[in-house]
Amino acid sequence: MDTGYQGWRGAAHDLAGDREVFRVPWGKAMMWIFLLSDTFIFGSFLTGYMSVRIATTTGWPNPSEVFALTLGGVHLPLILIAIMTFVLISSSGTMAMAVNFGYRRDRRRCAQLMFATAACGAIFVSMQAFEWSKLIAEGVRPWGNPMGAAQFGASFFMITGFHGLHVSAGVIYLLIVARRVLSGYYEKAGDYSIVEIAGLYWHFVDLVWVFIFALFYLW
């Protein structure tokens, strides 16, 4: 139902309604509220990390060097994280297009793009597993590391671990929804908004990575 009111008048009208506030499918409103709660979890993690980093009296390891790789004889600082960022952004692009094809009721294209999104997510998690193994082999632990401030390990494993968990859950979520899109499950109900809702979750995972990339790796 649309009241015809837009802008602040519309917002006041929506909030004053005695039945429902958000005039969107209930699943979409619930996903937004869930993502809001997740924002506070990641916000607290990043704020906590910032606090311990400012408060350490020993030097913080230089992320640019910690995450450097030597590829083909060339030493590249932070290259692994840069590749991970591009993979995740690409997955967001394919997801946005999957939503579009969902609303056009192009089942095959929609499912294909969702599978591509899930594949990018899986590649991202694999690279993170490689990154974790490398750091663990170098002696980084949640309680200390050979490169400097002990809090580095705790922040790194907590923040990237929680984000990686979100990506992994998202890959499973997308695969389930994509399979149902392909099988015509949503065709019968005539409602493809679940694709957009799954997309919201996926874009949020990318959004969180934007903040982690800037505040953890580039600081």
């Binding site: 837009q6 519309g10 917002a11 929506d14 909030l15 506030v21 958000f22 005039r23 969107v24 409103a29 937004w32 509220i33 993502l35 809001l36 924002t39 506070f40 916000g43 607290s44 704020t47 906590g48 910032m50 606090s51 311990v52 980093r53 400012i54 408060a55 350490t56 009296t57 640019s64 600082p77 932070l78 840069a82 960022t85 591009f86 952004i89 690409s90 967001s92 692009g93 997801m95 946005a96 297009m97 579009n100 609303y103 056009r104 908004s193 957009e196 997309g199 919201l200 874009h203 949020f204 990318d206 959004l207 934007v210 903040f211 990339f213 800037a214 505040l215 790796y217 580039l218 600081w219």
Partner: protein, 101 residues
């Protein structure tokens, strides 16, 4: 939902723009830009990317204002928390430097 069934052009544009902004953030590190310039660049590139993702990919710019307020206002409170924790951790650093070194 009408917007979502529109053309794909805007998604390709945003995708390209996100690539460009990420490449610029990487170059900030690659060329060892330091101090306040580094912070200005990193944070503004971060906010530009976040804004593009939320506004276009998550369709927020096409939503009703009540939903936009729900999504934008509460996280702004996190900035207050972050500001308070900066002040607190500066103090912790100061006392640690004085007594525990």
């Amino acid at each position: 939902m009408d917007h979502a069934a529109g053309g794909l052009g805007i998604y390709f544009k945003v995708w390209g723009l996100l690539f460009l902004l990420s490449a610029l953030s990487y170059l900030v590190d690659f060329f060892h830009v330091q101090s306040y310039l580094r912070w200005t660049l990193i944070l503004s590139l971060m906010m530009a990317k976040a804004g593009l993702i939320v506004a276009v990919f998550m369709h927020l710019r096409w939503e009703r204002l009540a939903l936009i307020c729900l999504v934008v206002i509460p996280p702004a409170a996190l900035l207050v928390l972050a500001g308070m924790m900066v002040a607190e951790s500066d103090y912790v650093f100061l006392t640690r430097s004085l007594y525990f070194r």
